[in-house]
């Protein structure tokens, strides 16, 4: 492991993002616009905005980083830069760490911005600490990154990678409890939700929203981090030094 290679990779990813101001604008503006839209959609029933507002703040970075990472890694695989790097004296962990640093930073900025707008301008209330919402948003972003990295190994084209979003992210959003509380779901779906990492990410966020800072919250965060590590390890295994 070499911190300098990880840092170099992070700087390189930042430089690539800087060349693409439209993506940065979309990353920052879209969540803000969507939260604003939600606020005015439910202007006559403010309870709904209160209930789903905080969890959504923490889930946007998950979705964004899932997409960005799967496309970026796919490009790295298809343009041959990954093969070049695999022939160089660079550890896989350093590449992953570099990506992690870069994307977690972007996620932190995104989560901070959308939180500032939601709490500051849109009167979203949370009983729990706001910094904890941003912190959970960043852990969810890293989870999204790890899953995106893993799934990019199974996509051959960018079209396929984009389709992983409805295939792997939408079911998690539907079953995590955001739309219907999990205890009101058919038992089979409730059980299915228990196997999906986003369920725990959502549970943690809605606990913070209600200022329920308890052991269950800590367990939620631990599960999200554990799934992230497993996905990263499996993702690292898909970065093959030698290919057939």
């Amino acid at each position: 492991m070499s911190p300098s290679a990880a840092w170099a990779t992070a700087l390189r990813v930042f430089a690539q993002l800087r060349r693409d101001p439209r993506t940065i604008a979309l990353l920052m503006i879209v969540p803000v616009a969507l939260v604003t839209l939600l606020k005015y959609m439910f202007i006559d029933s403010p309870g709904v905005f209160e209930r789903i507002g905080v969890p959504l703040l923490g889930l946007f970075p998950f979705i964004a980083m899932f997409l960005i990472t799967s496309i970026t890694m796919l490009r790295e695989r298809t343009t041959g830069t990954l093969e070049r790097l695999m022939a160089m004296p660079v550890a896989k962990i350093d590449l992953l760490l570099g990506y992690g640093i870069a994307f977690a930073t972007v996620a932190a900025i995104q989560a901070t911005l959308v939180s500032l707008v939601a709490f500051g301008l849109l009167d979203l209330h949370t009983s729990g600490p706001r910094w904890l919402v941003v912190f959970l948003a960043v852990t969810n972003a890293v989870l999204g990154m790890a899953l995106g990295l893993l799934l990019s190994a199974f996509a051959r084209t960018e079209f396929q990678a984009v389709q992983f979003m409805p295939a792997f992210v939408f079911p998690q959003i539907l079953l995590c409890g955001l739309i219907v509380p999990r205890d009101q779901m058919a038992q089979l779906l409730e059980i299915a939700g228990a196997f999906l990492p986003l369920t725990y990410a959502y549970d943690a966020l809605q606990r913070v929203g209600h200022d329920v800072i308890d052991a269950r919250l800590a367990l939620d965060v631990a599960i999200v981090l554990a799934v992230t590590l497993v996905a990263l390890a499996l993702g690292a295994a898909t970065l093959r030094r030698q290919t057939p």
Partner: protein, 239 residues
């Protein structure tokens, strides 16, 4: 020219996509030489190069580079590899690309300027790679292979799509590097380029058809130019 062997392959067999990409290939590459790897497309040139740099799964046989098994981690800092398609970041500038690879390889910032000069891209250093011509992109990729000052340079068709002046300059650079002790393995499907090489490996359908210096091969085949010589060898192999 030393007699030390940089690469030794014994009965190397590689299967790609269900067919034998390399079949029973035994060959050696002398250190400090420019060795040309020639053959038509699909003859296994890229596969052999991938095997030497250690990114290719080998079915059987042995392949040793500087006495170590190909793919050993200890070899990675000693080998520079240029893939056939330019493998650099299209959304970064020439200098940003090379700075990244230099950092990963722990090369100095000065080295970035040196390799940009070496491939003649001084005027393009701050241009985004995607906006460069195909030949310029190939040279960025070549520069990235040079940046770590490797002992073995494996270059997959580095001169494709370049104008004659640039081709001449690059071959002069390859010869100069070999003079300083670097071992170069350069592939081409243009037989004409063979005359710049010290040694040649002619591949055909995954098998080694012939080896030797350009002069030796000309003499052996009785052909004036290597294109004809190659054709005669292929016909001979078919019979």
């Amino acid at each position: 020219m030393s007699t030390e062997l940089a690469v030794v392959s014994e009965r190397l067999q590689v299967v790609r996509g269900g067919r034998k990409a390399l079949d029973d290939l035994s060959a050696t590459i002398l250190a400090g030489t420019v060795t040309g790897l020639l053959g038509p497309s699909g003859s296994g040139k890229s596969t052999l190069m991938r095997a030497i740099v250690g990114v290719q799964v080998i079915r059987s046989g042995s392949l040793r580079v500087f006495g170590l098994q190909a793919g050993s981690p200890a070899l990675r800092p000693r080998i520079g590899y240029m893939t056939q398609a330019p493998s650099v970041y299209g959304d970064l500038t020439v200098a940003e690309n090379l700075r990244y690879f230099a950092r990963v390889l722990r090369a100095s910032a000065k080295r970035v300027d040196e390799v940009i000069d070496a491939v003649g891209l001084e005027a393009e250093r701050d241009r985004v790679v995607d906006r460069l011509s195909g030949g310029q992109r190939a040279r960025v990729s070549l520069a990235a292979a040079l940046v770590g000052e490797p002992e073995l340079l494996v270059l997959d068709e580095p001169t494709v799509g370049l104008d004659p002046v640039l081709r001449r300059d690059l071959w002069a650079m390859f010869t100069e590097l070999a003079g300083q002790g670097t071992t170069l393995l350069v592939s081409s499907h243009v037989m004409d380029e063979a005359r710049h090489c010290d040694e040649l490996l002619l591949l055909h359908e995954g098998r080694l058809l012939a080896t030797g210096s350009p002069d030796e091969l000309r003499r052996r085949t009785g052909a004036d130019d290597l294109d004809d010589g190659f054709l005669r060898l292929v016909e001979g192999a078919r019979r």
